[in-house]
């Protein structure tokens, strides 16, 4: 398929999670921004708890440096990863009011840093990753503040969850019931995983995602109106720039066909994150692939 010039298309970005094995040891925040700039990958995802020094109260000096770096490397702040840590205190769950406070604190900071989408990770109560029972309550409570601070809370739909599932239905129901533009979805492309790499490619201390059912790519289509950002999850790029586990060509072409123009932020979750330069090279290869499929 040849992609038409001028047509609305997904855009490229990077989740700094990809560089987790290097951050603080061999790469600084500026190094990661420089990488993005080299790749023409403008869309940025940070994790608040990882990448904001002094979180949740960064210094004025840090904020000024943030503004300088965003400008210098021509970065678009896209998605701000944060958590409602429901098991923050041992022995009990956060109340709706505590969860609300935790959300609003991040709305303000995300807004200050220029982000408009939040990857909002909710606490879970069981092995099926069912969200805490009071999630509707504190999310609804927070919607007016989300509007005020111009942010969209997006739970991440992540394997083993399927796109056709009660969890996704529940989230969509809340959106439709409230008509809100401030709650949506982040789809992690890991839900489309059709292959795995051999276990032998992983190191002894690395977490291997267990195999699970996957969703067909077309299941994303009805959800697209609610999808504000995607995690372009990947596990291994071959030397000829193919991803080995996820049907990228189908995914990206589906997004193009349906005029989805949000950011796909590369999220590397393969082996050897601790080997200096390895994840960096993998992300570069990932962008060579995405650029080719996008016809950039």
């Amino acid at each position: 398929m040849t992609n038409q010039v001028g047509k609305t298309k997904p855009k490229r970005g990077v989740s700094l999670y990809s560089y987790a094995g290097e951050y603080g040891v061999t790469m600084s925040l500026e190094d990661m921004f420089a990488e993005m700039h080299d790749m023409g990958a403008r869309g940025l995802e940070i994790l608040a708890n990882s990448h904001i020094e002094g979180y949740p109260n960064p210094s004025e000096e840090w904020l000024e440096n943030w503004d300088r770096l965003i400008k210098k490397y021509d970065i678009v702040p896209v998605e701000y990863g944060h958590w409602v840590d429901s098991r923050l205190y041992q022995g009990r769950h956060l109340t709706p009011e505590e969860s609300y406070e935790m959300l609003v604190r991040d709305f303000k900071l995300a807004n200050r840093l220029g982000f408009t989408v939040l990857r909002t990770k909710l606490g879970v109560i069981d092995d099926e990753l069912t969200p805490v029972e009071n999630w509707r309550e504190f999310i609804k409570l927070a919607l007016p503040m989300a509007e005020k601070y111009n942010v969209r809370m997006c739970p991440e739909i992540h394997a083993p969850t399927l796109l056709k599932s009660k969890m996704v239905d529940d989230y969509v129901q809340l959106i439709e019931e409230t008509g809100t533009k401030h709650f949506g979805l982040n789809i992690d492309f890991g839900v489309f995983t059709t292959k795995t790499i051999p276990a032998s490619e992983w190191g002894p201390n690395e977490f291997i995602m267990p195999e699970s059912d996957h969703s067909p790519v077309e299941d994303i289509i009805p959800l697209l109106p609610y999808v504000y950002c995607c995690h372009a999850k990947f596990v291994k790029m071959s030397d000829d720039f193919e991803e080995m586990t996820i049907p990228y060509e189908t995914i990206i072409n589906t997004l193009i066909e349906h005029n989805w123009d949000g950011y796909m932020v590369s999220e590397y979750e393969g082996p050897k994150k601790d080997v200096p330069g390895y994840a960096v090279e993998q992300v570069r290869k990932h962008h060579v692939m995405m650029k080719r499929i996008l016809g950039e």
């Binding site: 708890n49 990882s50 020094e53 840590d85 923050l88 606490g123 879970v124």
Partner: protein, 133 residues
């Protein structure tokens, strides 16, 4: 920059108070990919050359503020960031001798977006041999 292992060699030294050596310090960094609220942490133990210290024998210093482990359980709004090594101060009269020491640090932490069972699994034991001058 930080050293790659959890247990850092920089910062390993005896500590004095009023001219008496009252213990030793070792710095650790978090190997988890995101920072932690202090109340997410479960109390650490430190073992040096086979001798184990725990509970109120250990304090944590983060960003120049020192906390007892009992205090930490209640601190849901103080954050241990990835770029900030935590200094564990271990009460041991006379401190450690100049030379080589086997250090082990153990702690776990809660992670609300994983099933509750992981709260006592994530983290674990870190070991390193350090040289005290």
């Amino acid at each position: 920059m930080l050293e790659r292992p959890c247990i850092q060699s920089r910062g390993f030294k005896n500590v004095e108070s009023h001219g008496k050596v009252i213990g030793f310090q070792v710095n650790i960094r978090s190997l988890y990919y995101r920072g932690l609220w202090l109340s997410q942490l479960r109390p650490a133990t430190v073992t040096v050359d086979g001798e184990t210290f725990s509970g109120d024998q250990i304090t944590w210093t983060i960003n120049d503020v020192t906390y007892t482990q009992a205090e930490m359980a209640e601190l849901g709004d103080v954050h241990w960031g990835l770029l900030e090594p935590a200094t564990l101060t271990v009460a041991k009269e006379g401190g450690l001798e100049s030379g080589s020491h086997e250090i082990e640090v153990n702690y776990t932490y809660s992670c609300s977006y994983f099933p509750p069972v992981v709260d006592t699994i994530l983290g674990g034991t870190h070991k390193r041999t350090l040289i005290l001058v």
